[in-house]
């Protein structure tokens, strides 16, 4: 490091000791050895097993439920029905339209109706079959078109506007004038199919009431805090009588980011029986629980100047919401609010309508609500680049929004490495040498995107911190961090350990992180919106700096120097100006404990008061402390005989501000790209509009058979295996943002967005076929090629 370079760790005046090193996760060997205890690995003495009876009908009124035969069975300890938990809830407090178990009406095939606790799953399953439900069948509405056409057939009677769950209409600038003066207007109709998370660990909950009446719920959730609140509400128990613990979670991706029926069921049955109760979803139930990516139907008009500048965007979208609101209010805003950046729009407007349908509810999947519009706009840009004969990368550079600026919908952009991302993928893919020069059947496509690092405004209105962290130092030289954060595999506990170790001068393995236990840890809002690194990272940094200050002061007193001349690094306290003067970090901690008493501190993250957001209804949704940036280039080959598309390579560059753990950031990039690739070409969360099965056979043409899931297994759903997955290149770009801990921004969701349009743009480059309705299938490619021939192209 040259003398002129400012120190990386500014608070200690030294280079980074832990941040940016190529470490793995300190607790990784637990998973390797099968020692990590996931929720279903918990077995408590006298534990009962619960199963949930689900509706076979997509839309029906419940006339009556008779549980007497089930209750009479040997081995059955309790049965619960919806009337026992009538309180409506919802993760978004403005749209509480769910019940733990349906009391009066079922709204999709799979809606939960009753549950049984028994000595074994086998007995519970047998007992569910003995529950008699008298249904009055209603006409199911399995498409948004049908649901909009029949407002009188309300899926939720209490809903104000037919089957519309939310409509957002926002306009910025004079779109009509800009489109009128545009040299080129690209008009496109895009369809985004649904997809689901596919975490390998099925949802699971265990509940137990102890002798003091404290209800403990262990759950495979990514939002233990929201679960805690909703449990209290639905069970009508104060929060201080409930403890929520999130064990290691086997993947989330948004699929575990709100309360589910099984958590209420396990808790209620534990209360009723006085015994521990476990409820574990089957894989089919995971598909039914869903909350995955909304199908979008999108009409876009985009105006460009002759030199490729975006003048105006007019977007109209219909979101197929499924049976419940879930996060849908927010999804509807995200369908337009994050559309602008990384580009400058002179004007834009969007009109998005989310509709109830009799299908599993959609919700947030990695890149919540902004992946679908990103697909549309990035293909629009590609079409414009072709029409204007501008290189697609050059067109994106030309429209770059810049740094330290404000979007037209009033969000503050801090750091942005978007241009560097484009440079990196351009160089890595050999774009300049190869684009436009590949043989027919082979092509390259590019796309870019942006994403939030948490949201400035919490799901429920509050002035409380979004994240809290507590740190204790002990006499053995170890650091204990208590954080509410949810590690769902993304590595949030590692992130916490990195921040603490960096500031307190210990090694990663010296930090023990205790996370996501409502009895032990301060509140963090959960693993969603890519918020943890920025928010919990800052909270941890605040707490760690406070303690590091005490340790340095105690050591400085002993050495007779100023506190700023003491640095903590590599398990030592050391003189900044004389590396020969040092002591073991344990000794330093002991000195500090003698001086200050037991060593502990707290830190929190709260949305800064100077936060910038739009002064309009919905103007807080999409407002984030910092934005990440991404660029993708995909290379595909298309077999024009079979219509088969093979993705050969995907290059992704992502600006995460500062890579606290580069290995983990690469993992997030690779995993995001993989997931986006899968939903472009293979995956489809699909509900049959009629009784047709995937094999085309008619299951039962009688009424009430609509709305069946087309895939109840992972085999049918087809997530990519190691043999399907293309070569993935993960490039890290670091543009530190002053609002992130050490400059860090998000890495977990942004890198998914633009892979989808990059692949579609590459397909066009390869064979001249536009697939604007996802997923890409051989049939669509062949139809496109046929159209080319007919058109004489």
């Amino acid at each position: 490091m040259s003398a002129a370079t400012p120190p990386e760790n500014a608070s200690q005046g030294r280079p980074y000791a832990v941040v940016g090193a190529r470490h793995g996760k300190p607790d990784a060997l637990d998973a390797m050895a099968g020692l990590a205890k996931y929720t279903d690995d918990i077995a408590l003495p006298r534990m009962l097993h619960a199963k949930i009876l689900r509706s076979p009908y997509a839309h029906a009124r419940i006339r009556s439920i008779d549980t007497s035969l089930a209750e009479a069975m040997e081995g059955v300890h309790a049965v619960v029905v919806g009337a026992e938990m009538p309180t409506r809830y919802g993760v978004i407090p403005w749209t509480p339209d769910e019940q733990a178990l349906a009391a009066d009406k079922v709204r999709y095939v799979g809606d939960a109706v009753a549950a049984v606790a028994a000595v074994s799953e086998d007995v519970a399953i047998a007992a569910c079959k003995r529950i008699v439900v008298d249904y009055e069948l209603l006409t199911p509405l399995t498409t948004p078109e049908a649901a909009l056409a029949h407002p009188e057939n309300k899926i939720h009677e209490a809903n104000k506007h037919g089957n519309v769950t939310k409509q957002v209409q926002l306009a910025f600038g004079d779109v009509d004038a800009q489109l009128a003066r545009a040299d080129l207007v690209i008009e496109g109709h895009y369809q985004f199919h649904g997809s689901t998370h596919g975490a390998l660990e099925p949802h699971c909950a265990v509940a137990h009431v102890d002798g003091r009446g404290l209800l403990t719920v262990w759950s495979a959730t990514q939002v233990p805090h929201y679960l805690h609140r909703e449990l209290a509400k639905v069970l009508e128990i104060p929060t201080h009588k409930i403890r929520v613990i999130q064990p290691p979670v086997g993947g989330g991706f948004g699929g575990k980011s709100e309360p589910f029926d099984l958590e209420f069921v396990a808790a209620k049955l534990a209360i009723k029986t006085g015994r521990p109760v476990k409820c574990l979803y089957t894989r089919e139930e995971v598909f039914l629980a869903h909350r995955g990516r909304h199908p979008f139907d999108m009409h876009y008009r985009t105006g460009f100047s002759a030199d490729g500048r975006i003048l105006g965007v007019d977007a109209k979208s219909i979101l197929d919401g499924g049976a419940y609101s879930s996060f849908g209010l927010v999804t509807t805003y995200y369908s337009g609010q994050l559309l602008g950046s990384p580009y400058v729009f002179d004007s834009y407007r969007f009109d998005s309508t989310r509709v109830y349908t009799n299908k599993p509810a959609c919700g947030p999947k990695r890149g919540h609500g902004s992946v679908q519009p990103r697909f549309a706009i990035e293909v629009q840009l590609d079409k414009a680049a072709r029409a204007l004969k501008i290189d697609p990368i050059a067109l994106r550079r030309r429209n770059f929004i810049g740094e330290n600026t404000t979007t037209i919908n009033e969000f503050h952009i801090g750091s942005s490495g978007f241009l560097e991302c484009l440079d990196l993928v351009e160089a890595a893919s050999g774009w300049k040498e190869r684009h436009g020069k590949l043989p027919r059947g082979r092509g390259l496509g590019v796309a870019g995107s942006t994403y939030i690092s948490g949201t400035n405004y919490c799901i429920y209105p509050t002035d409380l911190p979004q994240s809290g962290v507590q740190i204790c130092l002990d006499r053995s030289g170890r650091v204990r961090v208590f954080a509410g954060t949810s590690d769902i595999g993304q590595g949030s506990s590692t992130m916490i350990a990195v921040v603490a170790a960096e500031e307190l001068g210990v090694h990663l393995e010296d930090v023990r992180v205790v996370a996501a236990d409502s009895d032990l840890c301060p509140v963090d809002l959960g693993a969603y919106s890519s918020r943890i690194t920025l928010m919990a990272g800052n909270a941890c940094l605040n707490a760690a700096r406070d303690l590091a200050g005490k340790v340095r002061q105690a050591v400085a007193q002993k050495w007779g120097c100023h506190k700023r001349d003491v640095i903590l690094a590599d398990r030592r306290a050391q003189r900044l100006d004389d590396p020969q003067v040092w002591m073991d970090i344990t000794e330093a901690f002991v000195l500090a404990e003698i001086e200050f008493g037991t060593l502990g501190s707290t830190g929190s993250y709260q949305t800064p008061r100077e936060d910038v957001h739009g002064e309009y209804r919905g103007g807080t949704i999409g407002a984030s402390p910092a934005y990440s940036f991404t660029a993708h280039i995909a290379e595909v080959s298309v077999d024009e005989e079979t219509g088969d598309v093979k993705v050969e390579n995907i290059w992704c560059a992502h600006d995460c501000g500062r890579a606290l753990s580069p290995v983990l950031v690469e993992g997030q990039i690779e995993g995001s790209v993989y997931m986006g690739f899968g939903e472009t070409l293979m995956e489809h969360h699909h509900v049959m509009p009629s009784g047709l099965r995937t094999d085309g056979a008619r299951r039962d043409s009688g009424p009430g058979k609509e709305g069946l899931l087309a895939h109840s297994s992972l085999l049918d759903y087809q997530m990519p295996t190691s043999l399907d997955t293309p070569n993935l290149f993960a490039g890290i770009v670091e543009k530190p943002d002053p609002r992130g801990p050490f400059g860090a921004k998000e890495a977990g969701e942004g890198p998914l967005h633009s892979v989808i349009p990059a692949i579609c743009n590459a397909i066009f480059d390869a064979c001249g076929v536009r697939v604007d309705a996802l997923p890409v299938t051989p049939a669509k490619i062949l139809a496109g090629l046929r159209a080319q021939r007919v058109g004489g192209a």
Binding site: G24, M32, G34, V123, G251, V663, T721, S722, T725
Partner: protein, 183 residues
């Protein structure tokens, strides 16, 4: 109302070698090996992701071969050798694959990892028995083709297995070379 349909069938005795230990266990005849491991023996390292043979998270090795515990009846492993992730490390030391997975970040949520490790260890062991072994990415991808991972995009998993396979072959060659010089 009879209760006959919920009465569990009488357990049967199964003797097997489990992670090198002779094990005798009474097991309901309809139980899968996965149920036996997880619920009967408390070996929860082997995971259940789908319970129908699609995801590979329950992969164990039976007589050395990677097999799906959810599609194997417990009574089928009578007198056979079953290895689970709990038996992969030796003497408290992690297996080289476990060390490599941890180091390169091949596990994110870790749920597929035990099954992935069992398939990977079978690949590495089989490779070292070949006459002229070569480490190829496509062979590794094929060996792990039955194990879904939703977090990593497989990149770092393939990297970890490749490193270990190469290391094992290099070590084998180092051991073989001085021997070849013997008359």
């Amino acid at each position: 109302m009879t209760v006959a349909d919920s009465t569990p069938p009488a357990p049967v005795l199964v003797n097997l070698q489990l992670n090198g230990e002779p094990t005798s266990v009474a097991v309901p005849p309809h139980w899968t090996l996965l149920e036996l491991l997880r619920y009967g023996l408390g070996l929860t390292g082997t995971k259940q992701g789908c319970d129908k043979g699609d995801c590979g998270t329950c992969t164990v090795r039976i007589d050395g071969e990677p097999q799906l515990a959810c599609l194997t009846l417990a009574v089928e492993v009578r007198d056979r050798h079953v290895e689970t992730v709990e038996g992969l490390g030796v003497g408290g030391e992690p297996h080289p694959l476990q060390e490599a997975f941890a180091r390169v970040g091949a596990a994110q949520c870790g749920f597929c990892t035990p099954g992935m490790l069992m398939s990977a260890s079978a690949y590495v062991d089989a490779l070292s028995l070949q006459d002229d072994p070569v480490v190829r990415r496509e062979d590794i991808a094929a060996a792990l083709g039955g194990n879904l991972c939703r977090c990593t995009g497989y990149t770092k998993i393939l990297q970890a297995v490749e490193e270990v396979a190469q290391l094992v072959l290099d070590r084998q060659r180092d051991l073989a070379e001085p021997a070849a010089e013997q008359p």
